[in-house]
Symmetry: C2
Subunit: 349 residues, 2 copies
DNA sequence: GTGAAAGCGCTAACAT
DNA sequence: ATGTTAGCGCTTTCAC
């Protein structure tokens, strides 16, 4: 392994100067700098990350914690994070914290989770942390603030931590208002189930948005119009079969809490011989990569952009900015495609 | 930050003993060990990863390089890797090397790719590397062997490197043989396109398997029965529209090179009013999470297991084993569901 | 602008 | 089984 001393020898300077030149510090004359760069290139020298980190206290590595590693949304966020980090010369260490593991016991007793907070994050291997959709308990929050490293949470709010979050309530209202504007009054909701409540009660917020939008339109939400599923296509499919098969309700539209459930609903409707959107309008939330293929109307929340934005904030903080922690609302956008249309028999067009 | 000296003081031993005790070395008396552990717990001491790595040369971190971060297959592999690594107390640093970037220029001129091999992997931040579906050029292979760290490739073979790979040719033959056994003779193939050839010519191998299986059955592959797509649902859908709309061919079965394309084919067939499998049988490759939902017959390649297995091999090597590099064939399994059935008019049942 | 030297916090010989 | 000590390879004062 080539070390800094060799480069210093070849360039005819001290190791200190090599370090400065290669780190891009300003206090090096252009001539010296290029001699050092040439020497480094010639020897194929690359700084040892560990030695550098130990001496400087900076790792150029960011930890990312995600609750699910195989859901489209989290992967999209991760992709945005990875890209931005790589471009900034940072490594990304991936931690996965399955929130369903140990759900029966209090969160603080989940051993994997404890281990992450008590060990992994305290070994000084990361300069900062991005937590995606993780609701942290008091002890975890404390342990994060204790290590005094920048933390950005996606999905929030998290007390004492800078977060980015979607206003789930508003997003849901927008989706339902879109359906109301098309003349629908019998609007069902495919909500996320229990297992996902850990993430800032996202299912509850979206459900509340549905209820509020209906209430404002003078409609009393019917409990039979509310079905829960697990955010997947298969889950949305099954829930929709139940919903459409129930003789007591006659929805003309479905608002699904995720695009994947909405796609499942479209497939179920088709299998039951209902045309979308003629017989049934369907809207989701996310901006899933498949939504365009299925012509699904959705509220896009730009997950990849969320990841990029989180990195941007983090890099600013690593540059010395210490913004007061707070919550920033994430952008979203109604994307109308062909899965929603006027309510059957509606006068509105 | 609590350092080792404090723990040593509290436990009344030297730092060396603390280091040994906490590392689980055998040469520490049980009594001393538990005193050290108590002291460490009391002080909330966690070793500094950087200091430890610098002194020992071991990082307990593994790098993983994937070509696509948003394809189901790679994520499934990544999930398997992450789980196993975490259980073994290893961190995982994720590198993403989009093979499409810079495709117009030779691989060795892709700057991101160069940077990964010339810098990131040489900074000594990882103990080992897992490369998923990456065909490496001479220079890259050399740079990997030069750093003398264990490397396991998933998808291969890679000269001089230990690899795990699916026999794409055999898998394709199995899929086509399944269709032939059902009496099909007009079997089309949805192949992966150009962009994926970089990965060990996987599309070419699967196509060759299709051709060979047909040839063995005395059937001459018809070029019009071969369509290419990009491995996605949308791509498979479009390619299938083209295929089924072409008046010159009359396939009774489709062998798709991936489950996602097969699902696209199923949706296209349905939109064209063809029943699956009565009018058209469809088979894919992968074992995609949606294959069960769509009742898709497929050849499962257990991607998550592939990831776990790669880690297993790596950990063995890190324990001192130096197996000769070679290629290990990965298991696969035909999973028959309802998307394949007897050929129309076939006597076989 | 550059050099000398003192660590960064730990591990691994080498002793005992 | 435990202590002593010399680094691991770099960055950063502090001088000049």
């Amino acid at each position: 392994m080539t070390k800094i001393q060799k480069v210093a020898d070849l360039a005819g300077v001290s190791t200190a100067t090599v370090s400065r030149a290669l780190a891009g510090k300003s206090s090096v004359s252009p001539a010296t700098r290029s001699r050092v760069e040439d020497a480094a290139r010639e020897l194929g020298y690359v700084v040892s990350a560990n030695a550098s980190s130990l001496a400087s206290g900076k790792t150029r590595n960011v930890g990312v914690v995600v609750p699910f590693i195989d859901s489209w949304f989290f992967i999209a966020v991760l992709k945005g994070i990875q890209r931005s980090l790589a471009d900034a010369g940072y490594d990304l260490t991936l931690y996965h914290l399955d929130p369903n593991v140990g759900q029966d016991r209090p969160v603080e007793e989940n051993p994997r989770r404890r281990r992450l907070f008590d060990e992994f994050l305290r070994r000084g291997r990361v300069d900062a942390l991005i937590a995606v959709s993780l609701e942290l308990n008091r002890a975890e929050l404390d342990s994060l603030t204790a290590i005094k490293k920048p933390v950005v949470g996606i999905g929030g709010p998290l007390p004492g931590i800078q977060t980015l979050s979607l206003d789930d309530h508003e997003v849901a209202r927008l989706a339902v208002d879109h359906l109301l504007a098309l003349g629908h009054r019998e609007i069902a909701h495919l909500a996320g189930d229990q297992d996902f409540e850990i993430d800032f009660h996202l299912p509850a917020h979206r459900r509340a948005g549905w209820e509020e939008a209906l209430a404002r339109a003078g409609i009393t939400p019917d409990p039979l119009m509310l079905r829960t599923a697990d955010f997947t296509i298969a889950g949305g499919y099954d829930a929709t079969l139940q919903l459409l098969g129930d003789p007591r309700v006659h929805p003309t539209a479905i608002f699904a809490a995720s695009d994947e459930m909405a796609i499942g609903a479209m497939l179920a409707a088709r299998d039951l011989g209902r045309s979308v959107p003629e017989d049934l309008s369907i809207i989701g939330i996310d901006g899933h990569e498949l939504s365009d293929f299925f012509s699904l109307t959705t509220v896009d929340q730009f997950p990849e952009v969320q990841g990029r934005h989180a990195v941007e904030i983090l890099l600013h903080q690593l540059d010395g900015d210490r913004p007061e922690p707070g919550n920033e609302a994430l952008p979203y956008e109604l994307v109308v495609r062909k899965s929603t249309g006027p309510a059957p028999g509606s006068s509105r067009r």
